[in-house]
Symmetry: C2
Subunit: 242 residues, 2 copies
């Protein structure tokens, strides 16, 4: 992954790609989280293949793209029809393709401005949440991070209770990846970066979008503080240090 979907960490794809190519290994990256958020250049990233999804950059759902470096051949998973050079059979989703193209073009135009704005809102959120809540932590890298991602954990609190209480205050968040929200297992990402199971269950993922304002962030900081305090009062796992 170019950037992780849960904790927003941007991976050193350029370096990994160089190592892969020095060893004659084809290299694919999932750039679904980064296209439209940070600069993505397939040459600079040293990738042979890259996938992206329109709905992650304000384009339509139901359409994505796979970049294949010229000369790279892949085996299709589905057969018949011969569309898209035999790689993906089926009548092309023309409105979706046009929408993806337009979304990319708009994203490119606004990339620097959007990234700056989101980074500033993200940092305001992270700094204040960590400062105002005892025993709170940021999951993932502090700076090598998607402009729009914050992922916290709060000792003694279940992530599920946190998102339900925030939802009641009009704030939509998640505990891990939306893809696996019906599953109850702790996030494999948080387990992989070395958290204990109880810590991984206490995570809160917040994604910002380009419509968010400073007001939204201030409201969220206050809401998190209120909910964390309320939940800790009820928590058998929490003993206040004060």
């Amino acid at each position: 992954m170019h950037a992780n979907n849960e904790i927003g960490t941007i991976q050193p794809i350029t370096e990994i790609g160089r190592i892969a190519h020095e060893n004659n290994i084809y290299f694919h990256t999932d750039a679904v989280q980064t296209v439209g958020k940070i600069p993505v250049n397939v040459k600079e990233l040293n990738v042979d293949m890259l996938s992206l999804s329109a709905h992650k950059l304000y384009g339509p759902k139901g359409i994505g793209a796979l970049y294949l470096r010229q000369g790279v051949r892949i085996e299709p998973l589905m057969h018949g029809g011969g569309h898209e050079k035999g790689i993906r059979p089926g009548t092309e989703n023309v409105p979706g393709i046009v929408g993806l193209g337009k979304a990319c073009s708009i994203a490119k135009e606004n990339l620097q401005m959007d990234a700056q704005k989101l980074t500033s809102l993200r940092d305001m959120l992270i700094d204040n949440v960590l400062a105002e809540n005892e025993d709170s932590y940021l999951n993932g890298h502090r700076t090598k991070r998607l402009p729009n991602n914050a992922n916290f954990r709060f000792t003694g609190i279940e992530g599920e209770s946190l998102i339900l209480h925030l939802d009641a205050k009009g704030i939509a968040t998640s505990t891990g990846s939306a893809c696996s929200s019906p599953k109850l297992e702790p996030s494999h990402v948080l387990m992989a970066i070395g958290l204990k199971e109880v810590e991984a269950h206490g995570s809160l993922r917040i994604s910002l979008g380009h419509e968010n304002t400073e007001e939204d962030i201030k409201y969220t900081i206050t809401a998190i503080k209120e909910v964390v305090e309320k939940l800790r009062k009820m928590s058998p796992l929490w003993c206040a240090s004060s």
Copy 2:
């Protein structure tokens, strides 16, 4: 296939399904051509699985559906995410799904009227083309046929020349399946129903839509007659019987 995409023949799916079930065999039908054109009822058809596509019934491109009878389990081709009961991973194309639903609902409402209108236009086209052009034939069944499909062949004429000349007159047709139009092989469907290669190359597929009028059909009948006569004058394969 419930109905063939090239020659429009409606297959005896109900009977095939009964035989399949008597022998404990799961039965899938591709109903892409029939949904929205003729009545489709999974129970009456004796199918365990049925696939359909929205853009074939005036819905959006990029969305389709697979009907699975309750209790039927299938292996996914793609993995991860767990969406759609683990069968098809990926963020759901919500606008597409809604569009497919709406298209089905409109199609159902108008089904009988549309089918009657199209059948009458189709029959007018078939009867007149066969009557007005010497050595012309209908491919596929005369009556067990999609309301919107006509597929002709004309001795001594290449299908490709036919569609180019009709295109110049504003009539969009094809020689076989649009999926395989970049290929130069004769239609496997026409070969399978027993045509010789030279006959299969001479086919002309015309699909009608619910915006077509009697005027369109009259114009098309005249255009075909003109083009067929013109091409036969140039054809080394054609000796007029008169």
